[in-house]
């Protein structure tokens, strides 16, 4: 069945890469997938979005995702700036990179909100606050549409070895610590 994912980040934070890796991983899981950025003109620092669709058959839809099943938020400061939950299905899940707990976040939605402090993990393992890839560990854990194995494969395929390794470690760690 068609699943739609939206990722919020800031220009330069790699939201597009999150979505791309997710699409590649889903494909490796034997599904069809698609990924694209919000077609904007945002400069570094400005809020941006990217999307992934996953389905059993070739995806012909090309409209923006307005009713996501899942949302990932790479930067918690965005929550005050935009409605990250906009259009999400009631049964949806929102994963936020933050040290806060879901209840501390002011997200008005019936969807489930999950938080995990990915920045901390990234700083520890990667040595820099690159959260876009590690975030996928949380996705694999709480949403499961895409397997951890495939995510790791996708990362290996797309990144230079050294960087891949650190990112995979971070993904694994995030997978480990994230809980519904």
């Amino acid at each position: 069945m068609l699943k739609q994912i939206r990722v919020h980040g800031r220009g330069g934070q790699g939201a597009v890469t999150s979505c791309e890796l997710l699409a590649i991983a889903a494909f490796k899981d034997g599904k069809y997938s698609q990924s694209f950025p919000f077609f904007g003109v945002a400069r570094r620092g400005a809020p941006v979005m990217a999307f992934t669709r996953i389905d059993d058959k070739f995806i012909r839809l090309r409209e923006q995702v307005t009713k996501p099943d899942y949302v990932m938020v790479l930067d918690p400061t965005l929550i005050d700036v935009i409605d990250v939950h906009e259009g999400i299905t009631d049964t949806g899940i929102i994963i936020v990179n933050t040290s806060k707990s879901p209840s501390e976040l002011n997200i008005k939605t019936k969807a489930k909100v999950v938080t995990v402090d990915i920045t901390k993990i990234s700083l520890e393992i990667i040595g820099a606050p690159f959260v876009n890839t590690p975030m996928l560990g949380a996705f694999a854990k709480v949403i499961g549409e895409v397997s951890l194995k495939s995510i790791i494969l996708a990362i290996e395929e797309k990144m230079p070895e050294k960087i891949a390794k650190k990112n995979i470690d971070a993904v694994k760690k995030v997978f480990e610590v994230t809980k519904l």
Binding site: R10, G45, A46, P47, P76, T77, D80, V81
Partner: protein, 91 residues
């Protein structure tokens, strides 16, 4: 569906109207002026790409306009007395 009536050719008469776009939300770092140290020299003001620093003429102190400051931290770098601190933006 109603079409907005645009001025022919898309002319914008409301000059300087990007002020409606609060780019302060882009900030990940926050420049904080130590007003004690600040000499009001205006260097930061001169170099700010976003016109987000005003030198209070009376107090002779720099003031950051956080509505627009994008947190590039150029001001901190150029301040001759190094009185602008880089903080992580918390909201």
């Amino acid at each position: 569906m109603t079409i907005e009536k645009h001025s022919p050719g898309g002319i914008i008469k409301d000059v300087g109207s990007t002020t409606s776009n609060k780019t302060g939300s882009w900030r990940t770092f926050r420049p904080v002026v130590d007003t004690d140290k600040c000499t009001g020299c205006g260097t930061c003001e001169r170099f700010c790409p976003d016109g987000s620093i005003v030198i209070d003429k009376k107090k002779r102190k720099a003031e950051v306009d956080y509505d627009y400051c994008k947190g590039c931290m150029i001001c901190a770098e150029v301040c001759p007395v190094k009185c602008i601190k880089k903080e992580i933006e918390q909201k």
